[in-house]
């Protein structure tokens, strides 16, 4: 479903993503972890066609990104890290725009939208987006993606700005969709989400995919023999192990 081969992105001399390879199967929830500036968002942007890779190949739903960019975009859903939307449109107008631009079945999407709105308590579609809070925008963004029920869903920090109930609903919905065959690719800083939800986890640091596998497989990579949490493992792998010294200094 999602394949990346030798993916590289350079900004001038800076290598943001360095030779990343991914192979994510249908129905899989893949967690993409990494510290700030590790290259998570850059990777997602390349996989979703908003950024052109310097080199490497991307294949989504069996289609080559270079040849079928528009077709791929029509079949995937993306929840970006920041819910940016046209502030002078009403929520309902944004949804209508999304329905028309993706050419989805209106009745089916509307039915699903109503259910999602009820679950996320979205009762503000008749107001202008400019009047929404960050959380309200995030919920609208999630709804606009999930109502289409795309085959591949990319989510960049999807729970930021969501209240506990909405975050829980989102997690449950993603699990449901993955069981129905959708592929989920998500980045998160909340390691508990990755630990509980993801079938496989990839850890990126300084642009390089430094570890990948199931939670058990990742734990096996640890140099220490102790039983570790994903958090400990993540900190060990990304070289942030000297935290005690830093805290003492402060």
């Amino acid at each position: 479903m999602i394949k990346a081969k030798n993916l590289v992105k350079k900004f001038g001399d800076f290598i943001a993503v360095d030779n990343v390879n991914l192979n994510i199967k249908s129905g899989e929830i893949y967690g993409f972890l990494g510290p700030n500036g590790a290259g998570k968002t850059t990777t997602i942007r390349m996989l979703t066609g908003t950024l052109k890779p310097t080199s490497g190949e991307i294949e989504i739903l069996g289609m080559d990104m270079k040849k079928n960019e528009i077709k791929i975009k029509a079949n995937i859903g993306v929840v970006p890290d920041e819910p940016k939307m046209y502030e002078n449109l009403k929520g309902s107008e944004f949804i209508e725009f999304i329905m028309n631009i993706y050419e989805v079945d209106k009745d089916e999407s509307k039915k699903r939208l109503d259910e999602i709105c009820e679950a996320f308590e979205i009762d503000y579609l008749d107001s202008f987006i400019g009047d929404y809070s960050h959380g309200m925008k995030q919920k609208l963004m999630v709804a606009s993606v999930l109502m289409r029920k795309p085959k591949v869903i990319f989510l960049d920090e999807p729970t930021v700005g969501l209240d506990a109930k909405s975050a829980k609903i989102l997690k449950m919905l993603l699990e449901k969709y993955s069981k129905e065959g959708a592929t989920i690719f998500l980045t998160t800083h909340i390691l508990e989400i990755a630990e509980k939800m993801c079938d496989r986890i990839g850890i990126i640091s300084s642009g390089k995919l430094i570890a990948e596998g199931t939670l058990e497989e990742l734990k096996a990579l640890s140099k220490t023999s102790e039983k570790q949490s994903l958090e400990d493992l993540f900190l060990e792998l990304t070289g942030a192990g000297e935290l005690d010294d830093i805290i003492k200094e402060l």
Binding site: T48, Y86, S92, D131
Partner: protein, 534 residues
């Protein structure tokens, strides 16, 4: 308290300035005063242009009503100026009150300031002062009106200054009370929109009044004017109006001065008290419709539909759409030279077409990279940005041409000009998009999306083409039917018939061909640049 208000204001204005990048990559520090000056310049220009018009219009009107046998203590001047004071007071109120709501009640900074050790009144006062720039136009107009009235009525300088300051203060306080009231039912988006729309209504009112009133007054004798204005005096100079107290104070009336000061003190106390207990947040209002009631329509051109909505809902672009129609219409209905209309229209619309396409594409820039996720090509997305201004201004021109042909005195020449008008608008719209895409990662937090240099380039090129095509072109075509005009045109061109044909006939056609060529070139640049926008 003073220092804290100044500190908040200083950084608020600093935030309004786009820092200039130096060659070494560092940023040049600009004074917050520059931002303030930039906001007040239009007001000063409007104010300065108003003074001579007002003086010339009303210099002979300081005639007491008693001279016409009317038993009222006013002069004609008082009636006329009471109208101006009322108009400007109203304009000030409709501009300033929603500006306070937009600036204060829903500003992100307000929430941060509230978490700091500051009094609510400090935050309120600094924000109210900050919002004053939005009401700069009526304020800029008010000062020369006071001065002109004082000069013509020969009032006492001390009382005039006192009355002028008093009127501004009273308007400030009433507007602040209005702001508090508006905050109860206006949302952030509607307050912002209302502020800008009111600002533009003020411009329309100003341009309209300064163009229409002189023509009405031109042929009326002082007695006729007095008779018609007498009926209004009981309404306009009612003692309940603050401007009536102002006029009386300027004439040295102590009772009116006491009234003015008392109301200022009472209103000041109310505003200060309320400002210290304000929540400084507007409750978010839910939509009127329930979600299940919302019907979604199918559209074959969703991108165009969306762009159309955004252009008409943004108050700045709404102004750009309306203004090119507004000014020529004044020409159509007030002047005999309706053929000038096409020139007036194209001078404004050609620049605005570029601005409109720039604004339209900036909506995508503001939510970037979201638009790149949509399953439409960049070409289709950009096409909509170029097409809409062309469509809007072409329809406007054709509508005005028809109106001025039917109601004005325009000749068939106005229809001949349709082709060059649309050609120039197409070029302008493409040029705007091309210019934006040259550097798509712009600072979109400020209102001026394009830099001063880019504005100069845009205006220079487009105005150059407008002058080169429409002045000689119009004169050349009109000269076929008007031998007098033809001989004057030839005289102007060193009595050369060759130059007459070259400048009048060849130059506009050559420039039109050049524009078509340059449009093609810019389209190629757009194609190249849009692919690089990531």
């Amino acid at each position: 308290m003073k220092n804290k208000i100044w500190l908040i204001l200083k950084y608020s204005y600093q935030n309004k300035i786009r820092p200039k990048k130096k060659k070494d990559g560092t940023y040049k520090k600009s004074s917050p005063l520059n931002a303030l000056i930039a906001y007040l310049v239009p007001a000063v220009i409007f104010g300065a242009s108003l003074s001579p018009i007002l003086y010339m219009m009303f210099k002979d009107l300081n005639i007491p009503f008693s001279q016409f046998g009317i038993d009222l203590p006013w002069s004609m001047l008082d009636v006329v100026f009471s109208m101006w004071f009322l108009l400007m007071g109203f304009m000030f109120f409709i501009n300033y009150s929603p500006a306070i709501v937009a600036n204060l009640y829903e500003s992100d900074m307000t929430q941060i300031l509230l978490s700091m050790p500051l009094k609510r009144s400090d935050i309120y006062i600094s924000s109210a002062i900050d919002s004053l720039v939005m009401a700069g136009l009526p304020l800029g107009m008010m000062i020369p009106v006071f001065v002109i009235y004082a000069i013509i009525a020969k009032t006492n300088i001390f009382f005039s200054i006192l009355a002028g300051l008093g009127y501004i203060l009273i308007l400030l306080l009433i507007s602040n009370l209005g702001g508090v009231l508006f905050s109860k039912f206006l949302t952030k988006t509607s307050a912002k929109r209302m502020t800008m729309i009111m600002y533009f209504i003020s411009i329309f009112l100003y341009v309209g009044i300064t163009n229409i009133i002189p023509r009405i007054m031109e042929n009326a004798s002082p007695a006729q004017v007095a008779e018609s204005l007498k009926k209004l005096s009981s309404l306009l100079l009612n003692y309940a109006w603050p401007h009536t107290w102002v006029i009386l104070t300027m004439k040295g009336n102590f009772l009116a001065l006491t009234m003015l000061l008392s109301v200022i003190i009472i209103l000041g106390y109310i505003v200060f008290t309320i400002s210290n207990s304000l929540e400084l947040t507007v409750s978010r209002k839910k939509g009127k419709k329930k979600n299940y009631e919302i019907k979604f329509k199918t559209s074959r051109f969703p991108a165009i539909k969306k762009d159309f909505k955004l252009l008409f809902r943004d108050s700045q672009t709404f102004f750009l759409i309306l203004y090119p129609v507004f000014l020529p219409l004044i020409f159509v209905f007030t002047s005999s030279g309706s053929d000038v209309m096409s020139f007036v229209f194209i001078m404004i619309a050609s620049i605005y077409a570029a601005m409109l396409s720039i604004f339209s594409i900036s909506y995508e820039g503001k939510i970037w990279p979201m638009p790149k996720l949509f399953p439409i090509s960049m070409g289709n997305m950009i096409f909509s940005k170029i097409m809409l201004p062309i469509l809007i201004f072409s329809i406007e021109y054709i509508a005005i041409a028809l109106l001025s042909f039917i109601f004005g005195k325009a000749t068939w020449v106005i229809f001949v000009m349709i082709i060059p008008v649309i050609t120039l608008i197409v070029y302008s719209s493409v040029l705007g998009v091309s210019m934006y895409l040259k550097n798509p990662k712009r600072d979109l937090s400020q209102k001026n999306i394009i830099k001063g240099k880019e504005v100069m380039y845009l205006e220079g090129v487009i105005m150059g083409f407008s002058f080169g095509i429409f002045i000689p072109g119009n004169l050349y075509i009109l000269s076929f039917e008007n031998p007098q005009l033809k001989s004057k045109f030839i005289d102007f061109l060193f009595d050369s018939k060759l130059l007459y044909h070259l400048v009048g006939g060849f130059l506009p056609i050559f420039l039109l061909i050049l524009i078509i060529y340059l449009t093609g070139k810019e389209i190629n640049k757009v194609k190249e640049r849009m692919l690089k926008w990531e």
